[in-house]
C-alpha cells in the first residue's frame, strides 16, 4: 500500500470493491481507478497501441495520455481514463491496448439535455473560477459555475494560504457563499466541452451509473451573457529516453494524487523540472515520507525554493538534466546529465512548464500566441463576451490569479517570485526511444522523419506521426510536438503555431449528445383526429413526412395486395371512405388574394367563381412542378387552398416568402388551417347515397350539386363543407368539418354507408385509383425535373396570364427538346408482371424478331435508358397490372413496346395514354 495517513479527500470509513484485469481490489469513495490501483502499487495499466510497451498513469485527470481502461461492468464503455473513472462497488474494468470495445446491446441508461440561461458562466472552480463566480454573484448576476472534477478547488491543496488561512478553508467558504446566493448554480463533475457563437457553451454533467428514469448524463446547453474561462493549465512533460515507462509522471499529477487521494506514488523520487511549480510537488512528497531529489534543468535553482529544499533536506542539482530511465515494467533508475549517471528511484516526476487550458477560448476563434516568458501558447487577444483568467490565461502566481479573477474584492495571497522558465522540449538522447505522444507511440524519430520528408507544418507532422490524435487529443503532447518540430526546422515555435483546438474538450458519449431525441421522440408523430379509429380497424400505416397515414386496412389473413384489390373494387363498384385530413390547407384572404394565386399557380384562379373548385399546379421558378391541389373560392376575396400532405409547410412558406419579400403591396393574409379542418373523402358510385343520407337537407343530385362545386351545410348544428372533388374518377364527395368533430363524423359516414358495404381505404388504394385515371402524385411521378407539359398537363398552364411563377423557364431551350420525358402508362404485354416501381425503361430487343415475345434480351451495359417506372400497381378494375412511367418522347411513342429490366429478365411493356379507366369520364357524376 502506498496510501499515506492524513492526506486526501477520500472517505476512508467506507470501502468499495472493484475488479481490474480480473483481480479484485478495494478503494474508497473519492478514489479513481487510477488512485485506487496506485494505492495498491499497481503502476502498469495497459499496453501501448503500436509497440505493446507497458503503459501507466502519467497525469492525474483528463490530460493523462497513459492510463486507458475499458469498463465491462456495470455496462461496457470504451476508452475511459483510469484517472477520471470513479471507483464504485462492482465495477469491472481492464487495461486496453489503445482500442476500446462497444457493448453488444443497446444502452438503457437515460441521457437528456437541458437549456440554461445565465448572465455569467464560469468554467472551472479552481481559485480563479471561484473568485470570479463569487464576484459575479455578489454583483447580483445569474451565475452558473461548472467544474469538471468531482470536488471544487482546482489545484489548491491546502498548503497555500488565501486571506491568511489555509486555501481549502477559503474554498469551503466561497462554495458555501455561492450555495447561499440566489441565482447561482454550481455544478461539479460537469465538463464544459464546447464553446460556440453568442455565449453558447455545452457542458456534460455526469451522475455516475443511474437506474430507472434519472439521467446518467445530462448535456447543459448554456446561453451565457458572458463566459469566464478559468480552466487552469496542464503541465507538460520533458521528452527523454524511455520516458514512456510506468513510473514517469507529471509533477503536478503526483502532488494531486497525494492531496486528493492520499496516495504517495513513489518512495524514491527524482523531480526533473525547468519550472518552479514542481518544487511544491517535491516538498509535498518529501513531507509525505518520500526521499526526493530535484534536478533543475535551469542554470540555477530558484533561490527561494532551493532554500526551502535545503531546509527540508531535499537535495537540488541545477544546470543538468535527466537523459533517460532504466527499468523493466517500472522505472528503477534515471540517467542524469551528460555522463548519464545512474540515480536509483521508483518515480520520475517531470515538469516542462505549463499549457494554459484555453480550449474554450480557441473554440470560438480566439487567437493563441506563443509567449516566450511563459514558454507556451496563451490567449493573444480580447474576445467579446469571453474572458480568460488565471492559469488558463498564463497567470500562475496565486496572488496574481486571485487579483485577475476577483477584481475589486479579490482575496490576498502571499506574493511569489516566479523565476524564468527554460525552454526545454527534450534532452539529448536516442530519438527513437524518446516518446512525444505515448498514447500514439510516436517518438522524436517519427517527428524527425516527417520533417525530413519535407513537412513544414505542424498539421502535416501531426497527421504523419498521428501525434495528438489519441483520446487525450494531445493535451500534454501537442505543444511539445510543435516545439520539437520547430527545433528540427530551425524556426521559432511561435512562427510554427500549434494545431487548432476543436470541440469537444474531452470525449462525450454519442448517447449523451442524442439526448431524448430517440424512438418516437426523434421526430414528432403527427396523427389526425380519426387516427384511433384507423388503429382500431387494424390499419397498416406509412410515414408521409411526419404524418402517420393509414396505408391499407387488411382483413384477417389478407396481405397488402389482397386488401388493396378489395378496397379498390369497393370504391369502383360501391363506396369507400378515406381520411384525407393530412392534406395541407391554407386560408388565403384579402382583396388581392386572386392576384397572388394567379402569380403562384400555372393556371388562372381569378376567374374561378365563388362556390366552385379548381385543380391547380404550382411550379418553381425553374418551371418544374412543385405541388398540386384543389382551390375552393369561398368568397370574392377568400380562397381555401389545399396542398399535398408532404408539401403543406413548404407551400405556405413559399406563399409567405412571395408575399412578404416580393409583393408586400398585395393585400393578402395567409392562415394555415391544416389541423382546423378534417377532410373525409367519400368515393364511389354509392357515395351520393351515403352523403345524401347523412346530410338529408342537401340536394346532392348532379344538377343541384355539380362536379367541382362546394356547398356549406350543418350536421347537428356543426358547420360542414361538402365538395364534389374526385381523385379516383368516381363520383365522390369531400366532407370537411372542424377537427373536433371528425372522429364522430367518420363513424356517422360508416354507419350511413353500412348497407352499401362502405369500405375504409388507405393511401395505397388512393394511389391505385388515381393512377388508373393518370393523375400524378407530385414527388412520386415527378422528381423536381418534370414540367406540367411533361405530365401532359398543358391544359393547366395558362396562356392568358402575362406571367406566373415558372412561366419564363418553360421558354428555355431544353424545355422544347423532343427528347424530354413524358408521363405515360406502361402495360406489360404479358398482362401479368407487376413492374417494380423505380424500374428503368429501355429499348425492347426481341429474342426472335419473327415472333413477338413478352420477354426480350437485355444487351450488355451500358444500356441507354429511356426513362423509369414511377408508379406500378395491380388493377382490380383492369384485372391486370399497369404502370405509369416517365419516358423520353413518350407521348410520341404511344403503342410502342419498350423493355423493362426486372431481375435478369427484360419485360415487354406497351406505351399508352395515362387514362386507363373510364377515359370518357362517365363515372364522375355517378
Amino acid at each position: 500500500m502506498t496510501r499515506v495517513e492524513g492526506y486526501g479527500r477520500i472517505d476512508r470509513t467506507r470501502t468499495v470493491s472493484f475488479t481490474f484485469d480480473g483481480v479484485p481490489y478495494t478503494g474508497h469513495p473519492g478514489d479513481t481507478v487510477a488512485s485506487a490501483l496506485l494505492a495498491h502499487g499497481v503502476t502498469t495499466l495497459g499496453t501501448s497501441v503500436r509497440l505493446g510497451r507497458p503503459r501507466g498513469v502519467v497525469g492525474s485527470w483528463t490530460e493523462d495520455p497513459g492510463g486507458l481502461v475499458q469498463v465491462e461492468e456495470p455496462f461496457p464503455e470504451p476508452m475511459l481514463l483510469a484517472t477520471t473513472l470513479e471507483v464504485t462497488d462492482g465495477l469491472v474494468a481492464r487495461g486496453v491496448a489503445g482500442r476500446g470495445r462497444l457493448a453488444q446491446v443497446a444502452d438503457t441508461a437515460r441521457y437528456d439535455h437541458r437549456h440554461v440561461h445565465c448572465d455569467v458562466l464560469v468554467v472551472g472552480a479552481g481559485p480563479a473560477g471561484l473568485v470570479a463566480a463569487r464576484a459575479a454573484a455578489r454583483a447580483g448576476q445569474d451565475v452558473v459555475l461548472v467544474d469538471d472534477r468531482p470536488t471544487p478547488g482546482g489545484t489548491l491543496t491546502g498548503t497555500e494560504t488565501v486571506d491568511g488561512r489555509p486555501a481549502t478553508e477559503f474554498v469551503d467558504a466561497v462554495v458555501a457563499e455561492l450555495a447561499a446566493a440566489p441565482h447561482v448554480t454550481h455544478l461539479q463533475a460537469t465538463t464544459a466541452f464546447g464553446h460556440y457563437d453568442d455565449g453558447f457553451v455545452l457542458a456534460l454533467e455526469r451522475h455516475g451509473e443511474t437506474t430507472g428514469r434519472s439521467a446518467r448524463q445530462r448535456v447543459h446547453r448554456i446561453r451565457a451573457g458572458r463566459v469566464v474561462v478559468a480552466a487552469g493549465a496542464i503541465e507538460r512533460p520533458i521528452v527523454l529516453e524511455d520516458n514512456d515507462r510506468p513510473g514517469v509522471m507529471l509533477a503536478s499529477a503526483a502532488r494531486d494524487l497525494l492531496h486528493r487521494h492520499g496516495v504517495l506514488v513513489g518512495r524514491e523520487v527524482v523531480v526533473f523540472t525547468v519550472d518552479d511549480a514542481a518544487y511544491a510537488a517535491a516538498l509535498d512528497l518529501h513531507g509525505a515520507g518520500a526521499a526526493v531529489r530535484v534536478v533543475d534543468g535551469r542554470a540555477q535553482a530558484p533561490a527561494g525554493w532551493a532554500a526551502r529544499c535545503a531546509a527540508a533536506g531535499v537535495p537540488v542539482e541545477a544546470g543538468t538534466d535527466v537523459r533517460g530511465t532504466l527499468g523493466t515494467d517500472r522505472v528503477r533508475a534515471v540517467l542524469v546529465g551528460e555522463t548519464r549517471r545512474e540515480v536509483p528511484c521508483d518515480l520520475l516526476l517531470v515538469s516542462g512548464g505549463w499549457n494554459p487550458t484555453a480550449h474554450l477560448f480557441s473554440h470560438v476563434g480566439g487567437p493563441l500566441a506563443f509567449d516566450d516568458e511563459l514558454v507556451g501558447f496563451r490567449p493573444a487577444a480580447a474576445l467579446p463576451g469571453t474572458t480568460v483568467v488565471g492559469a488558463a490565461n498564463g497567470t500562475f502566481a496565486l496572488a496574481d490569479v486571485l487579483r485577475e479573477a476577483g477584481g475589486a474584492d479579490a482575496p490576498s495571497a502571499e506574493p511569489e517570485v516566479i523565476t524564468p522558465r527554460r525552454t526545454l522540449w527534450r534532452t539529448p538522447g536516442d530519438p527513437a526511444r524518446q516518446f512525444v505522444d505515448i498514447a500514439r507511440d510516436a517518438t522524436v524519430a517519427d517527428v524527425a522523419r516527417a520533417v525530413g520528408a519535407g513537412m513544414t507544418s505542424v498539421e502535416h507532422v501531426k497527421r504523419y506521426t498521428t501525434i495528438g490524435t489519441a483520446h487525450d487529443q494531445g493535451k500534454t503532447s501537442g505543444v511539445v510536438a510543435s516545439g520539437i518540430t520547430a527545433e528540427l526546422l530551425g524556426r521559432p515555435v511561435g512562427a510554427l503555431g500549434t494545431t487548432t483546438f476543436r470541440p469537444p474538450y474531452t470525449p462525450v458519449p454519442f448517447a449523451a449528445l442524442a439526448g431524448r431525441d430517440r424512438g418516437d421522440l426523434y421526430d414528432p408523430v403527427r396523427t389526425t383526429p380519426v387516427h384511433h379509429h384507423h388503429v382500431a380497424a387494424g390499419a397498416v400505416f406509412e410515414d408521409v413526412g411526419m404524418w402517420k397515414r393509414a396505408r391499407y386496412y387488411p382483413h384477417p389473413g389478407e396481405d397488402m395486395a389482397t386488401a388493396v384489390l378489395r378496397e379498390c373494387a369497393a370504391v369502383r363498384r360501391s363506396v369507400g371512405v378515406m381520411d384525407g385530413s393530412t392534406l395541407g390547407k391554407i386560408d388565403v384572404r384579402g382583396p388581392d388574394a386572386a392576384v397572388l394565386l394567379d402569380h403562384l399557380y400555372t393556371n388562372l384562379m381569378s376567374t374561378l367563381k365563388v362556390g366552385r373548385v379548381r385543380y391547380g399546379v404550382m411550379c418553381g421558378d425553374d418551371g418544374m412542378v412543385l405541388d398540386d391541389g384543389t382551390v375552393l373560392r369561398l368568397a370574392e376575396d377568400r380562397f381555401l387552398v389545399t396542398t399535398t400532405t408532404g408539401n403543406a409547410a413548404h407551400v405556405l412558406d413559399r406563399m409567405e416568402d412571395w408575399l412578404q419579400t416580393e409583393w408586400p403591396h398585395l393585400r393578402v393574409r395567409l392562415t394555415s388551417v391544416t389541423e382546423q379542418w378534417s377532410i373525409l373523402a367519400v368515393a364511389g358510385p354509392r357515395s351520393r347515397d351515403v352523403v345524401g343520407r347523412v346530410f338529408a337537407d342537401v340536394d346532392v343530385s348532379n344538377d343541384a350539386f355539380g362536379f367541382m362545386t362546394w356547398q356549406d351545410t350543418a350536421l347537428d348544428g356543426v358547420p360542414v363543407r361538402l365538395a364534389r372533388i374526385s381523385f379516383s374518377g368516381e363520383l365522390a364527395f369531400e366532407v370537411s368539418v372542424a377537427s373536433w368533430y371528425a372522429a364522430d363524423l367518420w363513424v356517422r359516414l360508416l354507419e350511413a354507408g353500412a348497407e352499401h358495404g362502405i369500405t375504409p381505404y388507405g393511401t395505397e388504394t388512393m394511389h391505385v385509383l388515381r393512377a388508373e385515371k393518370g393523375y400524378p402524385i407530385i414527388g412520386q411521378d415527378t422528381d423536381g425535373t418534370v414540367t406540367p407539359q411533361d405530365l401532359g398537363m398543358s391544359w393547366v398552364v395558362s396562356r392568358k396570364k402575362p406571367d406566373f411563377v415558372g412561366k419564363r423557364s418553360f421558354a428555355r431551350p431544353l424545355n422544347s427538346d423532343p427528347g424530354r420525358k413524358h408521363l405515360v402508362s406502361l402495360l406489360p404485354t404479358d398482362a401479368a408482371t407487376t413492374l417494380p416501381e423505380g424500374s428503368q425503361v429501355v429499348a425492347f430487343t426481341d429474342r426472335d424478331p419473327e415472333q413477338h415475345a413478352d420477354r426480350g434480351v437485355l444487351p450488355p451495359p451500358p444500356v441507354p435508358m429511356l426513362g423509369h417506372v414511377t408508379s406500378s400497381y395491380r388493377s382490380a378494375e383492369l384485372g391486370r397490372p399497369f404502370a405509369l412511367a416517365l419516358v423520353r418522347g413518350g407521348r410520341d411513342r404511344l403503342g410502342e413496346v419498350v423493355g423493362v429490366p426486372v431481375g435478369d429478365q427484360l419485360v415487354a411493356a406497351r406505351i399508352g395514354g395515362t387514362v386507363l379507366v373510364d377515359p370518357e369520364g362517365a363515372r364522375r357524376d355517378g
Partner: protein
C-alpha cells in the same frame, strides 16, 4: 339507425389524459378545455387596436410576444399584424363572424382556428425547469413573466408558450403535434433530477 347520435367535440388529447393524470406530483399538466379561437390579421394602427380592444372587452397587446385578457378569453400577439383571440363563450363560427365584422372596417379579418391548436396547462413549482428540458428560450421570470407569450419550439414541434404566472404556464400546440409534445413533457416530468435551481 334509431335516435340520431349528435356530433360531439372530442378533445384531441383524450388518449393522453390518463398519462397526464398519472404524473407524480408537481408540476401538474392538465388539458385546457376546447375554446373558440380566431387568427386576427389587421394593421396595428393605435386607433384600430383601441377600437377592437374596447369592443372585445379588454385591450389588445401593443407589444410583441405579449397577451392580455379580453371578455371570456385572451388576446395573444403573434406578430406585427397578427393576434390569436380566444373566447370560452362564443361558438367558433359566431366568434369568427363577430371578430371578422369588428376587423373589417379596419381592413382586417379573422379566420377560425379553434380546432387548429390545443392547450395544455402546466402548474406548480418547477414548471419552468420542466420546460427548460425541451425549450431553448430564456424562461427566467424576468425575461418571460406573466403577460408574456412566445412562439417557439418544444423539441421539434412549434408551440405557443403563454406565461400566466411564475409557476403557471400554458402550451398551445397544433393538434397534430400535440401528442408528441405531451409525450415529451411526460417523459421529462417523470424523470427530472435537475440539480439546478428552478430557472
Amino acid at each position: 339507425m334509431t335516435a340520431e347520435p349528435t356530433l360531439t367535440a372530442r378533445h384531441p388529447l383524450e388518449s393522453r389524459r390518463a398519462a397526464l393524470e398519472a404524473l407524480p406530483g408537481e408540476p401538474t399538466i392538465t388539458l385546457d378545455p376546447l375554446v373558440s379561437a380566431v387568427d386576427l390579421r389587421v394593421d396595428p394602427e393605435p386607433a384600430t387596436l383601441a377600437a377592437l380592444g374596447a369592443a372585445l372587452g379588454g385591450t389588445l397587446p401593443h407589444t410583441a410576444d405579449a397577451w392580455t385578457a379580453i371578455a371570456d378569453g385572451q388576446a395573444l400577439r403573434l406578430g406585427p399584424d397578427e393576434w390569436l383571440l380566444t373566447s370560452a363563450a362564443a361558438t367558433p363560427h359566431a366568434w369568427e363572424d363577430r371578430v371578422d365584422a369588428l376587423a373589417a372596417p379596419h381592413g382586417g379579418m379573422a379566420v377560425d382556428v379553434s380546432a387548429q391548436r390545443v392547450g395544455l396547462r402546466l402548474r406548480g413549482p418547477g414548471v419552468r425547469d420542466l420546460l427548460a428540458f425541451t425549450c431553448s428560450i430564456d424562461l427566467r421570470p424576468a425575461a418571460f413573466g406573466r403577460g408574456r407569450c412566445a412562439q417557439t419550439l418544444l423539441g421539434q414541434a412549434a408551440v405557443l408558450l403563454v406565461a400566466h404566472g411564475d409557476d403557471d404556464l400554458a402550451v398551445l400546440v397544433r393538434t397534430s403535434f400535440a401528442g408528441y409534445v405531451v409525450d415529451r413533457l411526460v417523459d421529462h416530468a417523470g424523470a427530472r433530477t435537475s440539480r439546478l435551481a428552478p430557472v
